[in-house]
């Protein structure tokens, strides 16, 4: 039980995530990917006569069950498997983040940024709302996210996925180094 409740090492985690690929292919010819669920949710809730949301989402309901499963998994891990605790990140990262204005290091997310109290502050609004919008817009424009492109796409040797992944990383690195310091100070 000790092993389960401790944070899992990268090689255990990576191997298990990689095994989702054959699990989905063998159980029903499904290609691993998550961002498409956002498109299906749009089609179900607010199609607004937009052509992009007239796709055959009914044949993709597996994807929604997979997403609901992730929510359940998050609940199980945090409540029964010791998933919520301070994250042992590199002390250098902690030092930089403290200098840039992050205060809470007690959980998976910094509560001084991600909380309902912060939602109405400019900083909170950018991290919670604007960030989410960019994730939803960007992944669909790119045709996939970390799971669909970076893991499934590269594992199936599709070069457009490698190009997309390089852009995910480039966008994230440029933002972290040159934009976040200003956003964290707001």
């Amino acid at each position: 039980m000790e092993f389960i409740t401790q944070p899992w090492p990268w090689y255990v985690s990576g191997t298990l995530i990689g095994m989702v690929i054959p699990a989905l292919l063998l159980s029903g010819n499904k290609a691993f990917g998550i961002s498409s669920t956002l498109r299906h949710i749009c089609a179900i809730c607010i199609p607004a006569n937009i052509a992009f949301f007239k796709h055959d989402w009914k044949s993709q309901t597996w994807n929604l069950f997979f997403a609901i499963g992730i929510i359940l998994g998050g609940f199980i891990a945090v409540h029964f498997l010791g998933g919520q605790h301070p994250v042992a990140i590199n002390p250098q990262t902690t030092t930089i983040l403290k200098q840039q204005g992050v205060k809470d290091f007690n959980g998976l997310l910094p509560k001084d940024i991600f909380s309902f109290q912060q939602l109405l502050s400019l900083r909170g609004f950018i991290f919670i709302v604007v960030g989410g919008f960019l994730v939803g817009f960007g992944t669909r424009y790119a045709g996939g996210c970390t799971s669909g492109h970076s893991i499934m796409g590269i594992a199936s040797l599709q070069w457009p996925s490698l190009a997309a992944t390089c852009c995910f990383m480039a966008g994230g690195i440029l933002t972290t180094w040159f934009i976040l310091p200003y956003l964290l100070k707001l």
């Binding site: 054959p22 063998l26 029903g28 998994g73 994250v87 997310l109 457009p160």
Partner: protein
């Protein structure tokens, strides 16, 4: 009921996302600052395991449990891979979460992330709305 297997696979995936700390904003910060191998190790080993599995499936022509041939959809390059990729990267560094972790965080009790998730849905909706006007 045939979708239950995807619910279970999703739950196992969600557990791994939390237990590996992939859902942590701090881990994403560490990754983009090149201050730890953790995230690179996870994504890299997941790719290798996936790649080997797919090669085995192809080499031995393994079929699904229902006896169908396994087909992996081909991804065609378009400029959205570049522009959209950069925009997603920007959002990923800010929220510290890609779509999978957003779902896992909500399940883990970070209810504020439900707002981020709704905003991500709004982002996808906006993409659908202006899709024709964007360069692909």
């Amino acid at each position: 009921m045939r979708n239950i297997k995807y619910l279970i696979t999703g739950a196992l995936f969600g557990i791994v996302l939390v237990k590996s700390e992939v859902v942590s904003w701090f881990r994403i910060q560490e990754m983009f600052r090149f201050q730890a191998f953790h995230m690179y190790g996870i994504i890299g080993s997941a790719i290798i395991v996936g790649l080997i599995s797919i090669q085995i499936i192809k080499r031995f022509k393994i079929k699904t449990i229902d006896g169908e041939d396994i087909v992996i959809p081909e991804k065609k390059f378009h400029w959205g891979n570049i522009y959209g990729g950069l925009i997603f990267g920007l959002g990923w560094a800010i929220t510290g979460a890609c779509p999978g972790p957003l779902f896992a965080q909500v399940g883990g009790g970070f209810l504020i992330v439900a707002v981020t998730l709704v905003s991500a849905i709004a982002g996808t909706w906006t993409y659908g709305l202006i899709r024709e006007k964007l360069h692909h």
